[in-house]
Amino acid sequence: MSDVKKFLYVNRKAPHGTIYALESLEVVLIGAAFEQDVALAFLDDGVFQLVKGWDTSELGAKNFQPAYTALGDYDVQKVYVERESLEERGLSEDDLIEMTYEDEDDDFAEKSSIRIVSREEMAKIMADADVILSF
């Protein structure tokens, strides 16, 4: 049981409308301390979680977008975003926040964590995980 497991967080819900996005993110932040192999998947309305430029002041709720950006500091390096989900919603990678990590194996070069994948690749990513946390 000391082996490293592949944890995949599957995010399919829009932010703000329900707490699923925020409380899923809180699991990722805590989970980062456990030295497992962590990946995040964003598909369906989950891709809205990464759209940049949130301003929640008029809504009166907490703006938790900075926490996504900070995921790189928690050593989260794999963020899979489904292309078909973006396209259906009129979005492209340019609409998304920047998410980066420092690559230890490449002189700590700052690299993007976001990987746009096809629906077919997303299915394989799910199939390849050891544990799926579904939000």
């Binding site: 703000h16 409308g17 329900t18 707490i19 809504l59 009166g60 709720a61 907490k62």
Partner: protein
């Protein structure tokens, strides 16, 4: 105008509770009368004084209680929905032999008739839910 507001979802889990609050504030600012805010389904969970949200976030119960105090609002929690979900005032606590209650100041527990009455009395009834 006389407005009635219905909240069907609980705090933090759904935005409905925020929208209802922001709408109520705006209606009061516009000079309308808010006849009643009726909490039903999981909406009753807005009324617990035991919630302790993170300090950098809104306190959903407190802001309802404070709005009620400031504007003398009638915040009514449906008794049947509240019982199911464990929202009790002192009377309900005693009646059901429970050892604690959790209702917040400014909320009162009453029956579904209060919702119907709001429908009859108000010029507009606005629902917020999932």
């Amino acid at each position: 105008m006389k407005l009635g507001i219905v909240v069907l979802e609980g705090p933090y889990q759904h935005e409905a509770s925020d929208t209802a609050y922001n709408f109520t504030v705006a209606a009061l600012e516009k000079g309308h009368e808010v006849f009643r805010v009726f909490f039903y389904h999981d909406g009753v969970n807005n009324a617990t004084r035991l919630m302790v949200p993170p300090q950098d976030d809104r306190h959903i119960q407190k802001r309802w209680s404070e709005l009620a105090e400031k504007h003398n609002l009638d915040l009514v929690v449906c008794v049947a929905a509240a019982q199911r979900r464990g929202i009790l005032d002192e009377d309900e606590m005693k009646r059901h032999g429970k050892d604690a209650n959790n209702i917040a100041p400014g909320f009162r527990i009453s029956g579904l008739g209060q919702l119907i009455e709001a429908g009859i009395q108000c010029d507009r009834l606005v629902f917020f839910g999932d």
